[in-house]
Protein backbone atom coordinates (compact mmCIF):
# COMPACT_ATOMS: atom_id res chain seq x y z
CA UNK A 1 0.00 0.00 0.00
CA UNK A 2 1.09 3.54 -0.75
CA UNK A 3 0.79 6.20 1.94
CA UNK A 4 0.33 9.87 1.10
CA UNK A 5 -1.86 12.83 2.02
CA UNK A 6 -4.80 14.54 0.36
CA UNK A 7 -5.66 17.92 1.90
CA UNK A 8 -3.37 17.01 4.81
CA UNK A 9 -5.42 13.90 5.50
CA UNK A 10 -3.40 10.65 5.57
CA UNK A 11 -4.67 8.24 2.92
CA UNK A 12 -3.74 4.84 1.52
CA UNK A 13 -3.93 3.57 -2.00
CA UNK A 14 -2.88 0.56 -3.98
CA UNK A 15 0.07 0.66 -6.27
CA UNK A 16 -0.99 1.72 -9.76
CA UNK A 17 -3.97 3.81 -8.66
CA UNK A 18 -4.37 7.36 -9.79
CA UNK A 19 -4.88 10.24 -7.37
CA UNK A 20 -8.50 10.49 -8.54
CA UNK A 21 -9.19 6.84 -7.78
CA UNK A 22 -7.64 7.19 -4.34
CA UNK A 23 -9.54 10.39 -3.62
CA UNK A 24 -12.88 8.88 -4.61
CA UNK A 25 -12.12 5.81 -2.51
CA UNK A 26 -11.73 8.12 0.48
CA UNK A 27 -14.78 10.20 -0.32
CA UNK A 28 -12.79 13.28 -1.35
CA UNK A 29 -14.57 15.19 -4.06
CA UNK A 30 -12.84 16.10 -7.35
CA UNK A 31 -14.93 17.22 -10.35
CA UNK A 32 -14.57 15.41 -13.69
CA UNK A 33 -16.30 15.38 -17.06
CA UNK A 34 -14.18 13.27 -19.42
CA UNK A 35 -13.50 10.51 -16.89
CA UNK A 36 -15.31 7.17 -16.98
CA UNK A 37 -14.35 3.91 -15.26
CA UNK A 38 -15.04 1.95 -18.43
CA UNK A 39 -12.24 3.50 -20.48
CA UNK A 40 -8.65 4.61 -20.02
CA UNK A 41 -8.42 8.17 -18.67
CA UNK A 42 -7.54 10.76 -21.28
CA UNK A 43 -6.86 13.86 -19.22
CA UNK A 44 -8.78 16.09 -21.61
CA UNK A 45 -11.20 18.17 -19.55
CA UNK A 46 -8.65 19.21 -16.90
CA UNK A 47 -11.39 19.74 -14.30
CA UNK A 48 -9.70 17.21 -12.05
CA UNK A 49 -6.50 19.25 -11.65
CA UNK A 50 -5.02 19.07 -8.15
CA UNK A 51 -1.94 20.71 -6.67
CA UNK A 52 1.07 18.76 -5.51
CA UNK A 53 3.17 20.55 -2.91
CA UNK A 54 6.47 19.84 -1.32
CA UNK A 55 7.92 22.70 0.68
CA UNK A 56 8.10 25.69 -1.64
CA UNK A 57 7.74 23.54 -4.73
CA UNK A 58 4.32 22.97 -6.23
CA UNK A 59 2.72 21.96 -9.49
CA UNK A 60 -0.69 21.14 -10.86
CA UNK A 61 -1.42 17.70 -12.24
CA UNK A 62 -4.45 15.96 -13.69
CA UNK A 63 -5.56 13.60 -10.93
CA UNK A 64 -7.22 11.17 -13.35
CA UNK A 65 -3.85 10.18 -14.80
CA UNK A 66 -1.31 11.02 -12.11
CA UNK A 67 -0.26 7.83 -10.33
CA UNK A 68 -0.12 7.91 -6.54
CA UNK A 69 3.33 7.89 -5.02
CA UNK A 70 4.64 7.41 -1.52
CA UNK A 71 4.71 10.56 0.56
CA UNK A 72 3.23 13.06 -1.91
CA UNK A 73 1.03 15.89 -0.63
CA UNK A 74 -2.04 16.47 -2.72
CA UNK A 75 -4.35 19.48 -2.37
CA UNK A 76 -7.70 19.60 -4.10
CA UNK A 77 -8.96 23.03 -3.06
CA UNK A 78 -6.14 25.54 -3.47
CA UNK A 79 -6.30 28.94 -5.10
CA UNK A 80 -4.54 27.72 -8.23
CA UNK A 81 -6.84 24.70 -8.51
CA UNK A 82 -9.87 26.93 -8.09
CA UNK A 83 -8.57 29.32 -10.74
CA UNK A 84 -8.25 26.55 -13.33
CA UNK A 85 -11.66 25.10 -12.44
CA UNK A 86 -13.43 28.44 -12.48
CA UNK A 87 -12.10 29.40 -15.91
CA UNK A 88 -12.87 26.00 -17.42
CA UNK A 89 -16.41 26.16 -16.08
CA UNK A 90 -16.89 29.73 -17.31
CA UNK A 91 -15.69 28.72 -20.76
CA UNK A 92 -17.82 25.56 -20.77
CA UNK A 93 -20.94 27.52 -19.84
CA UNK A 94 -20.37 29.66 -22.93
CA UNK A 95 -19.37 26.74 -25.17
CA UNK A 96 -22.18 24.35 -24.23
CA UNK A 97 -25.01 26.60 -23.07
CA UNK A 98 -27.62 23.97 -23.94
CA UNK A 99 -26.25 21.28 -21.64
CA UNK A 100 -28.09 21.17 -18.32
CA UNK A 101 -25.53 18.63 -17.10
CA UNK A 102 -22.70 21.15 -17.48
CA UNK A 103 -24.67 23.98 -15.87
CA UNK A 104 -25.50 21.75 -12.91
CA UNK A 105 -21.90 20.66 -12.42
CA UNK A 106 -20.62 24.24 -12.70
CA UNK A 107 -23.17 25.37 -10.18
CA UNK A 108 -22.05 22.70 -7.73
CA UNK A 109 -18.64 24.33 -7.83
CA UNK A 110 -20.01 27.83 -7.47
CA UNK A 111 -19.85 28.98 -11.09
CA UNK A 112 -23.23 30.25 -12.23
CA UNK A 113 -22.32 32.89 -14.79
CA UNK A 114 -19.73 33.47 -17.43
CA UNK A 115 -17.95 36.52 -18.80
CA UNK A 116 -17.94 34.98 -22.25
CA UNK A 117 -20.69 35.12 -24.83
CA UNK A 118 -22.09 31.92 -26.28
CA UNK A 119 -21.23 31.26 -29.91
CA UNK A 120 -23.87 28.57 -30.46
CA UNK A 121 -26.89 28.58 -28.11
CA UNK A 122 -27.81 24.98 -29.02
CA UNK A 123 -24.46 23.39 -28.46
CA UNK A 124 -24.01 20.65 -25.88
CA UNK A 125 -20.86 18.77 -26.96
CA UNK A 126 -17.52 19.83 -25.51
CA UNK A 127 -15.54 17.13 -27.38
CA UNK A 128 -14.25 15.23 -24.37
CA UNK A 129 -14.00 12.16 -26.61
CA UNK A 130 -15.62 9.72 -24.16
CA UNK A 131 -18.01 8.49 -26.85
CA UNK A 132 -15.26 7.66 -29.32
CA UNK A 133 -13.05 6.15 -26.65
CA UNK A 134 -15.82 3.81 -25.47
CA UNK A 135 -16.53 2.85 -29.07
CA UNK A 136 -12.86 2.02 -29.64
CA UNK A 137 -11.87 0.52 -26.30
CA UNK A 138 -15.05 -1.20 -25.09
CA UNK A 139 -17.10 -1.91 -28.20
CA UNK A 140 -14.04 -2.37 -30.42
CA UNK A 141 -15.57 -0.81 -33.51
CA UNK A 142 -14.23 2.74 -33.80
CA UNK A 143 -17.34 3.82 -35.64
CA UNK A 144 -16.75 7.39 -34.52
CA UNK A 145 -13.66 9.38 -33.67
CA UNK A 146 -12.54 12.88 -32.96
CA UNK A 147 -11.88 14.59 -36.25
CA UNK A 148 -10.13 17.83 -37.22
CA UNK A 149 -8.01 19.61 -34.70
CA UNK A 150 -7.76 22.64 -32.46
CA UNK A 151 -10.85 24.79 -32.26
CA UNK A 152 -12.45 22.77 -35.04
CA UNK A 153 -12.15 19.46 -33.26
CA UNK A 154 -15.40 17.55 -33.14
CA UNK A 155 -16.80 14.03 -32.93
CA UNK A 156 -18.04 12.28 -36.02
CA UNK A 157 -17.96 9.42 -38.46
CA UNK A 158 -15.77 9.51 -41.58
CA UNK A 159 -16.87 12.09 -44.14
CA UNK A 160 -19.68 13.11 -41.76
CA UNK A 161 -21.94 10.44 -43.22
CA UNK A 162 -23.96 7.82 -41.40
CA UNK A 163 -21.81 4.74 -40.97
CA UNK A 164 -22.86 1.11 -40.93
CA UNK A 165 -19.86 0.27 -38.79
CA UNK A 166 -22.02 1.51 -35.94
CA UNK A 167 -24.17 -1.31 -34.52
CA UNK A 168 -26.32 1.05 -32.49
CA UNK A 169 -25.23 -0.47 -29.19
CA UNK A 170 -25.83 2.81 -27.42
CA UNK A 171 -22.64 2.77 -25.32
CA UNK A 172 -21.73 6.26 -26.47
CA UNK A 173 -25.14 7.51 -25.38
CA UNK A 174 -24.70 6.09 -21.93
CA UNK A 175 -21.24 7.54 -21.24
CA UNK A 176 -21.81 11.02 -22.70
CA UNK A 177 -21.54 13.47 -19.79
CA UNK A 178 -23.32 16.38 -21.46
CA UNK A 179 -26.24 14.84 -23.30
CA UNK A 180 -24.66 15.78 -26.61
CA UNK A 181 -24.67 12.26 -28.02
CA UNK A 182 -28.48 12.34 -28.16
CA UNK A 183 -28.45 14.73 -31.08
CA UNK A 184 -25.21 13.47 -32.61
CA UNK A 185 -26.37 9.89 -32.68
CA UNK A 186 -28.69 10.05 -35.65
CA UNK A 187 -26.02 11.67 -37.79
CA UNK A 188 -23.74 8.77 -36.97
CA UNK A 189 -26.17 5.93 -37.34
CA UNK A 190 -28.85 7.42 -39.46
CA UNK A 191 -31.37 6.53 -36.71
CA UNK A 192 -32.60 9.20 -34.30
CA UNK A 193 -31.46 8.60 -30.75
CA UNK A 194 -35.01 8.79 -29.43
CA UNK A 195 -35.93 5.70 -31.46
CA UNK A 196 -32.70 4.08 -30.32
CA UNK A 197 -33.56 4.68 -26.68
CA UNK A 198 -36.97 3.07 -27.17
CA UNK A 199 -35.40 0.10 -28.94
CA UNK A 200 -32.92 -0.61 -26.22
CA UNK A 201 -35.33 0.08 -23.36
Amino acid sequence: MIQFTINDQQVEAQHGWTILEAAREHGIDIPTLCYHEAVAPSGACRLCMVELKDGNWSKLVASCIYPVAEGIHVYTETERVHNVRRWIFEMLLATCPASPEISALAERYGVTSTRFSAADPDRTCMVCGLCSRVCEEVVGLSAIATVDRGVYKRVGAPFSRPTDVCVACGCCLSVCPTGAMQSLFDTVRGIPATIMTQLTA
Partner: protein, 165 residues
Protein backbone atom coordinates in the same frame (compact mmCIF):
# COMPACT_ATOMS: atom_id res chain seq x y z
CA UNK B 1 -8.59 11.72 -61.85
CA UNK B 2 -5.32 10.37 -63.19
CA UNK B 3 -2.40 10.32 -60.79
CA UNK B 4 0.47 12.75 -61.34
CA UNK B 5 2.97 10.32 -59.84
CA UNK B 6 2.57 6.78 -58.63
CA UNK B 7 -0.75 5.01 -59.06
CA UNK B 8 -2.65 3.49 -56.19
CA UNK B 9 -1.31 -0.05 -56.52
CA UNK B 10 2.28 1.16 -56.61
CA UNK B 11 1.67 3.30 -53.54
CA UNK B 12 0.20 0.41 -51.58
CA UNK B 13 2.94 -2.00 -52.60
CA UNK B 14 5.67 0.23 -51.27
CA UNK B 15 4.76 -0.08 -47.65
CA UNK B 16 4.44 -3.01 -45.27
CA UNK B 17 0.90 -3.59 -44.03
CA UNK B 18 1.35 -1.88 -40.68
CA UNK B 19 -0.50 0.98 -38.96
CA UNK B 20 2.69 3.05 -38.72
CA UNK B 21 2.67 3.45 -42.51
CA UNK B 22 -0.77 5.07 -42.64
CA UNK B 23 0.62 8.61 -42.84
CA UNK B 24 3.15 7.58 -45.51
CA UNK B 25 0.32 6.11 -47.59
CA UNK B 26 -1.87 9.18 -47.27
CA UNK B 27 1.06 11.46 -48.13
CA UNK B 28 1.77 9.53 -51.30
CA UNK B 29 -1.90 9.55 -52.28
CA UNK B 30 -2.04 13.28 -51.62
CA UNK B 31 0.98 13.97 -53.79
CA UNK B 32 -0.14 11.72 -56.65
CA UNK B 33 -3.80 12.66 -56.76
CA UNK B 34 -3.80 16.11 -55.16
CA UNK B 35 -6.34 15.01 -52.58
CA UNK B 36 -7.54 11.96 -50.69
CA UNK B 37 -10.77 10.51 -51.97
CA UNK B 38 -13.04 8.36 -49.85
CA UNK B 39 -12.10 5.25 -51.83
CA UNK B 40 -8.37 5.84 -51.60
CA UNK B 41 -8.66 6.51 -47.88
CA UNK B 42 -10.52 3.22 -47.49
CA UNK B 43 -7.78 1.40 -49.41
CA UNK B 44 -5.05 3.04 -47.33
CA UNK B 45 -6.72 2.16 -44.05
CA UNK B 46 -7.38 -1.41 -45.20
CA UNK B 47 -3.75 -1.77 -46.20
CA UNK B 48 -2.44 -0.31 -42.94
CA UNK B 49 -4.94 -2.40 -40.98
CA UNK B 50 -6.63 0.46 -39.16
CA UNK B 51 -10.29 1.49 -38.99
CA UNK B 52 -11.40 4.07 -41.54
CA UNK B 53 -12.09 6.42 -38.65
CA UNK B 54 -8.39 6.50 -37.81
CA UNK B 55 -7.48 7.39 -41.37
CA UNK B 56 -10.15 10.07 -41.37
CA UNK B 57 -8.90 11.44 -38.04
CA UNK B 58 -5.37 11.56 -39.40
CA UNK B 59 -6.40 13.12 -42.70
CA UNK B 60 -8.34 15.87 -40.95
CA UNK B 61 -5.77 16.45 -38.20
CA UNK B 62 -2.76 17.26 -40.38
CA UNK B 63 -2.80 20.40 -42.43
CA UNK B 64 -1.19 18.99 -45.56
CA UNK B 65 -4.04 16.62 -46.40
CA UNK B 66 -6.99 17.66 -48.52
CA UNK B 67 -10.25 15.81 -48.91
CA UNK B 68 -11.35 17.71 -52.00
CA UNK B 69 -9.62 17.96 -55.36
CA UNK B 70 -7.28 20.91 -55.38
CA UNK B 71 -6.63 23.41 -58.12
CA UNK B 72 -4.10 23.12 -60.87
CA UNK B 73 -1.77 25.51 -59.06
CA UNK B 74 -1.30 25.85 -55.34
CA UNK B 75 -0.68 29.29 -53.92
CA UNK B 76 0.64 29.15 -50.37
CA UNK B 77 0.96 32.39 -48.50
CA UNK B 78 3.41 32.15 -45.61
CA UNK B 79 2.10 33.51 -42.32
CA UNK B 80 5.20 32.96 -40.24
CA UNK B 81 6.05 35.73 -37.80
CA UNK B 82 8.43 37.57 -40.10
CA UNK B 83 5.88 37.42 -42.92
CA UNK B 84 3.14 38.57 -40.58
CA UNK B 85 5.17 41.61 -39.55
CA UNK B 86 5.78 42.40 -43.19
CA UNK B 87 2.18 42.15 -44.31
CA UNK B 88 1.55 38.46 -45.05
CA UNK B 89 -2.03 38.69 -43.83
CA UNK B 90 -2.68 41.59 -46.16
CA UNK B 91 -1.49 39.47 -49.06
CA UNK B 92 -3.92 36.72 -48.09
CA UNK B 93 -6.82 39.16 -47.95
CA UNK B 94 -5.85 40.72 -51.23
CA UNK B 95 -5.48 37.36 -52.99
CA UNK B 96 -8.83 36.29 -51.58
CA UNK B 97 -10.35 39.32 -53.22
CA UNK B 98 -8.48 39.00 -56.48
CA UNK B 99 -8.98 35.26 -56.89
CA UNK B 100 -12.46 35.43 -55.44
CA UNK B 101 -11.87 32.49 -53.13
CA UNK B 102 -11.38 32.09 -49.40
CA UNK B 103 -8.09 30.86 -48.02
CA UNK B 104 -8.23 27.06 -48.00
CA UNK B 105 -10.50 26.98 -51.03
CA UNK B 106 -10.17 26.43 -54.75
CA UNK B 107 -11.30 28.78 -57.48
CA UNK B 108 -14.44 27.78 -59.33
CA UNK B 109 -12.44 27.10 -62.51
CA UNK B 110 -10.14 24.74 -60.55
CA UNK B 111 -7.09 26.75 -61.57
CA UNK B 112 -5.88 27.90 -58.15
CA UNK B 113 -6.02 26.68 -54.58
CA UNK B 114 -5.23 29.37 -52.05
CA UNK B 115 -3.67 28.17 -48.83
CA UNK B 116 -1.86 29.69 -45.92
CA UNK B 117 1.12 28.04 -44.28
CA UNK B 118 2.54 28.67 -40.85
CA UNK B 119 6.12 29.48 -41.82
CA UNK B 120 8.09 27.93 -44.66
CA UNK B 121 11.32 28.89 -42.91
CA UNK B 122 12.44 31.37 -45.54
CA UNK B 123 12.06 34.35 -43.23
CA UNK B 124 14.75 36.44 -44.86
CA UNK B 125 12.50 36.71 -47.89
CA UNK B 126 9.44 37.91 -46.00
CA UNK B 127 6.75 38.22 -47.11
CA UNK B 128 6.96 34.94 -49.00
CA UNK B 129 4.41 33.24 -51.20
CA UNK B 130 5.07 29.81 -52.65
CA UNK B 131 3.33 29.11 -55.95
CA UNK B 132 3.61 25.40 -56.67
CA UNK B 133 7.36 25.04 -55.95
CA UNK B 134 8.37 28.61 -56.74
CA UNK B 135 9.31 30.87 -53.86
CA UNK B 136 8.31 34.48 -54.38
CA UNK B 137 10.38 36.68 -52.13
CA UNK B 138 9.50 40.14 -50.80
CA UNK B 139 6.33 39.92 -52.76
CA UNK B 140 3.05 41.78 -52.98
CA UNK B 141 -0.41 40.73 -54.06
CA UNK B 142 0.06 42.83 -57.17
CA UNK B 143 3.28 41.16 -58.26
CA UNK B 144 1.69 37.80 -57.60
CA UNK B 145 -1.38 38.54 -59.59
CA UNK B 146 0.79 39.24 -62.61
CA UNK B 147 2.49 35.90 -62.15
CA UNK B 148 -0.80 34.06 -61.66
CA UNK B 149 -2.21 35.66 -64.80
CA UNK B 150 0.77 34.32 -66.70
CA UNK B 151 0.15 30.86 -65.28
CA UNK B 152 -3.45 31.11 -66.29
CA UNK B 153 -2.57 31.90 -69.87
CA UNK B 154 0.24 29.45 -70.16
CA UNK B 155 -0.40 26.05 -68.67
CA UNK B 156 3.19 25.04 -69.25
CA UNK B 157 4.65 28.17 -67.66
CA UNK B 158 7.63 27.12 -65.67
CA UNK B 159 10.36 28.88 -63.80
CA UNK B 160 8.54 32.19 -63.95
CA UNK B 161 8.93 32.55 -60.20
CA UNK B 162 12.05 33.91 -58.74
CA UNK B 163 13.47 30.49 -58.15
CA UNK B 164 12.33 27.13 -57.09
CA UNK B 165 13.57 24.68 -54.55
Amino acid sequence: MAPVGKDMDTILEQYPAKPEYLIFLLQDIQSSYGYISQESMQQASDHAGVPLTQAYSVATFYQSFRLDPSGEHEVRVCLGTACHLKGGQRIVEELERRLNVEAGGTTADMRFTLNTVNCVGACALAPVVVVDDDYHANTTARKLEKHLKKLEHDVTADGEGQGHV
